[in-house]
């Protein structure tokens, strides 16, 4: 008899408890059953009047009505820095004796540099963030899509003093003028008429001075941060820079032939980012707003 009473009391307790529990969170249950239906605010909280132009939104977004407009994250001023981890995919780049591949090391290094630059307030994009190999032109196109851009290509060499870093700028020849007495081009003008347009293959030409200046500024910083690094940048015909319409520099760390290139590349990211940041700031101070010759 006592047992029967206990069972009945338990059953009654469950019966009473369930409706009470569900009544405490009606919106939640409605949301689960019909997420498309607009939710009514809880009776205990005063209704927040939505702006007249804004219709009530369905779904869980209205469950916690906004009490204040979220402040947008501050957009840092200054140029977009496009980081280009060289090579990728089937193009391994330089290979160390222990199997280290330049494509992997530069990708890790670029991620570290990006994080550090963003921490310092720069806007950074990368031409690749996985083991893909965009073409030279695709990489240049990513940079050329922005108006105010600085292109930094990251490399690791096969040779050179281990731990040293060198920056390079694109060096193109003067437009070719055949000699006047050349029998090959009799009567032809020395140079084509200027059209005012730059060919894609020579998009870097108007920015060569700026790139040289930026490379020198970066190299000054690198020389202070990486032992054995030279004081000056070098010019070279670098395939990955020639189509970039903006200041463009290649930075190469030596080398995959070192005893531990993984550690070297990982450790290089932070000082490399600092060098780039300081050089870019100095560059912007002397070249405000534009870099064309």
């Amino acid at each position: 008899m006592r047992n029967t009473f206990g069972v009945v009391a338990l059953a009654l307790g469950i019966f009473v408890y369930v409706p009470l529990g569900s009544a405490q969170a009606p919106g939640q249950q409605e949301q689960q059953s019909n997420p498309q239906q607009p939710l009514a605010p809880p009776a205990s909280t005063p209704p927040v009047q939505a702006p007249p132009s804004t219709p009530p939104l369905p779904g869980p977004a209205q469950q916690t009505p906004p009490t204040a407009t979220p402040t947008p994250a501050p957009v840092p001023a200054g140029p977009i820095i496009v980081l280009n981890p060289a090579h990728g995919g089937t193009d391994s780049g330089a290979r160390g004796q222990n199997g280290a591949a330049e494509k992997d090391l530069v990708l890790r290094m670029a991620r570290g540099v990006k994080a550090e630059l963003e921490r310092q307030g720069f806007r950074v994009i990368m031409t690749r963030n996985d083991d893909s190999n965009p073409s030279y032109d695709d990489r240049a196109a990513m940079a050329n899509a922005y108006r105010d851009v600085i292109f930094i290509s990251l490399h690791i060499a096969s040779t050179g003093t281990v731990g040293s870093v060198r920056s390079y700028y694109e060096q193109m020849s003067l437009p070719y003028a055949p000699p006047a007495d050349s029998a090959a081009t009799p009567g032809k003008p020395a140079l084509p008429a200027a059209s005012g347009l730059n060919s894609w293959n020579e998009a870097q030409r108007p920015y060569m001075n700026a790139s040289h200046r930026l490379a020198d500024l970066i190299q000054i910083e690198l020389a202070q941060k990486f032992n054995g690094s030279a004081d000056t940048s070098l010019g070279a015909a670098i395939r990955g820079l020639r189509s970039v319409a903006g200041p463009a520099v290649a930075i190469e760390l030596s080398s995959v032939s070192g005893p531990n290139p993984d550690t070297l590349a990982n450790a290089a990211a932070a000082p490399l980012a600092d060098a780039i940041a300081e050089a870019v700031n100095a560059f912007r101070a002397v070249t405000p707003g534009g870099a064309r010759q």
């Binding site: 096969s158 040779t159 020849s173 090959a184 010019g235 015909a237 290649a250």
Partner: protein, 227 residues
């Protein structure tokens, strides 16, 4: 000590002596084989690219640009039989550049590289055609590729007057890059005073060589400007 023991010890002693004698010979042979690695490479190069000789060859001093450090070139004066014909002379110089670096560390081009052809157009454009080894065996990297191209350009520039620009082909074809970085789709300036963009960041010239021995290349470490 029994007689058998004496015989055994004598035989053992004889074995040790024979071993010592043969060890010395073995050591000599290993040294010869180690040296043969280099000579094999040279021998292969000699077979594939025999020295160019022409009736007009005269022994003359030439400045060949090999590596002078980890990231620089330095001219080395060597005596070479050189043709009066600019085309043949250029081939001879490039073969010397490939085959005769003073030390392995000074090598800028792979030892297996062959000069397949060299042509000079009337306007002073030089076209150098190398075998696949140039692009396959040059270590990938801006530093090493730049040194390879510069050593070719500077050597030609210093010893063959009249050349104005250089085109590098690999096995008769234009290639995108030498080994992934340095652009070979254009031309490299030769014997042209390429104005270096002045950098306000530095008052010194961006590149310079300790060029006490550089005969006619004041910007010996400056890469040939590329079109």
């Amino acid at each position: 000590m029994t007689r058998n023991w004496k015989i055994f010890l004598a035989a053992l002693l004889a074995c040790v002596v024979i071993g010592l004698v043969s060890l010395k010979g073995l050591h000599r042979r290993m040294a010869r084989l180690a040296k043969a690695d280099v000579t094999e490479e040279e021998a292969r190069h000699e077979v594939l690219a025999p020295p160019v000789s022409t009736p007009t060859d005269v022994s003359a001093k030439a400045s060949i640009f090999w590596a002078g450090g980890p990231d620089s070139l330095a001219p080395v004066q060597i005596e070479l039989p050189l043709s009066a014909d600019a085309q043949e002379r250029s081939r001879q110089l490039l073969q010397a550049l490939i085959a005769d670096p003073p030390t392995p560390d000074q090598r800028t081009l792979p030892a297996d590289t062959e000069v397949l052809g060299f042509y000079i157009l009337p306007d002073g454009t030089a076209i150098a055609d190398f075998s696949d080894a140039l692009s396959n065996e040059t270590p990938s990297g801006i530093l090493s590729e730049r040194m390879a191209v510069n050593s070719i350009a500077r050597t030609l520039e210093s010893n063959v007057p009249g050349l104005r620009r250089l085109k590098i082909l690999v096995h008769g074809q234009e290639v995108d890059t030498l080994a992934g970085n340095v652009d070979l789709t254009g031309f490299f300036d030769l014997n042209q005073a390429v104005p270096q963009p002045m950098s306000p960041a530095l008052s010194v010239a961006p590149t310079s060589l300790p060029s006490a021995t550089a005969p006619k290349a004041p910007t010996a470490n400056t890469p040939p400007a590329k079109h």
